[in-house]
Amino acid sequence: MRNIRHHPKPETLAEYAAGRLDEARSVVVSTHLTLCKECSRSVVDFEALGGACLETVEPEAMQAGSLAAFWERAGDQDILVSPSMHGFEAANDFSLSAAQPLGAYLDVDVDRIKWRAVAPGVSQHVLDAEGYRDGVLRLLKIAPGVQLPMHTHKREELTLIIRGAYRDAIGEFRPGDLADLDDDIEHAPTAFGDEDCICLIATSAPLVFKDLIGKIVQPFVGL
């Protein structure tokens, strides 16, 4: 894997580790984590911080006889005692990231997606990731040379490059790079290179296009 140059902000990783992100943004972050050791390690650090916080929680008494009820529920399933860890992945050697978080949301390969054209050179495919909290997850495909209208974001947007590349005022984004934008950043990404740029985008609120063209395009882009 090439070097990833753009990562989520630490605060975003901390929100992820705390279970605070909506489903759409969690998918984008966890997909990045499968590609980025650096951020995976940060998330485990934040989980350790969560563990320290858990110990400060005011205990709530369990119902009477809870431990006995627990053993009943556990049944006679004694844990398998294994003198050596050999052959096992330690259960506490983890991260939140599944093997293929994005894959779980795609019923077909990226190459077989039925794209819906939303503007010349731009098409999208909305994924069902509205399990909890607000948030929309979509794949956007931008043809090389096409520029999206200038826009800002009412809240946060996370964009992970899956394929191809784009550039905007912040820099160049290539596969694995994650753009973690909030409302004070406005950008107009332009796809470049030989192939379509495919991005996985999570938005927690609708995008706000800034210029007139954007205003015209917006309703029909459906962003």
Partner: protein, 209 residues
């Protein structure tokens, strides 16, 4: 860890007062990890019982702070501990501490509960957000040590930062609601969080002091 635009090292320290009460010593969490290690190697039910008595009420408290009614929180706390028991043989004391591991299990159950509430027909085995997957960590030996340092750095935070970090990880309220509750502007809550994270990463040697 940081690249790009996030400039958090440049923040100015605002609070330096010491925190008055620390009622959890680092000793107790090491004791808990040792207990779990005993469960892992010998299936020791008495050791697990001690672990249960310590963590189940805290997990229940955590779930209630996340909005679960007491009955559900009780049930999910038990389920958390059940996962701990069933997977205990895979616990490696050289890796994440007991509290960290239990936190992630409880957090995932909390997320699952929220998803089920939003989408009642959801497949509980849906692999999206809450896998307890394996991590190809390259710093395996280092992990337990990092956990201890993180806990110590957390306990040494100034009270104002300690509190927002706690609320960030425990409460299900949005940062704006937390700000309201503390009578602070949202920006202050966010900057305290960033300061705390920066300080902890300095303690870990990830940033220049």
């Amino acid at each position: 860890m940081i690249r790009g635009r996030a400039v958090i090292g440049a923040e100015i320290l605002i609070v330096t007062s010491a925190r008055p009460n620390k009622n959890v010593s680092s000793g107790s969490s090491e004791a808990m990890s040792d207990l779990l290690g005993r469960v892992a190697t010998s299936g020791d039910r008495a050791a697990f019982g001690e672990l249960y008595d310590y963590f189940a009420p805290r997990v229940k408290g955590y779930l209630m702070r996340g909005g679960s009614p007491a009955d559900l929180a009780d049930d999910l706390a038990q389920e958390t501990m059940l996962k701990v028991w069933r997977k205990a043989r895979l616990y490696d004391p050289a890796k994440a501490g007991a509290a960290t591991w239990i936190f992630t299990i409880a957090r995932n159950l909390r997320i699952d509960a929220a998803r089920r509430a939003a989408k009642p027909t959801l497949d509980p085995d849906d692999p999206s957000l809450s896998p307890e997957g394996e991590q190809p960590a390259d710093e395996r030996m280092e992990r337990a040590d990092r956990d201890k340092k993180i806990k110590a750095a957390f306990e040494a935070l100034p009270e104002a930062q300690h509190e927002v970090v706690r609320l960030h990880f425990i409460e299900d309220a949005a940062h704006s609601e937390i700000a309201e509750r503390l009578g602070l502007p949202l920006g202050t809550v966010k900057s305290r969080l960033r300061l705390a994270f920066t300080k902890i990463r300095k303690e870990l040697g990830d940033l220049d002091a």
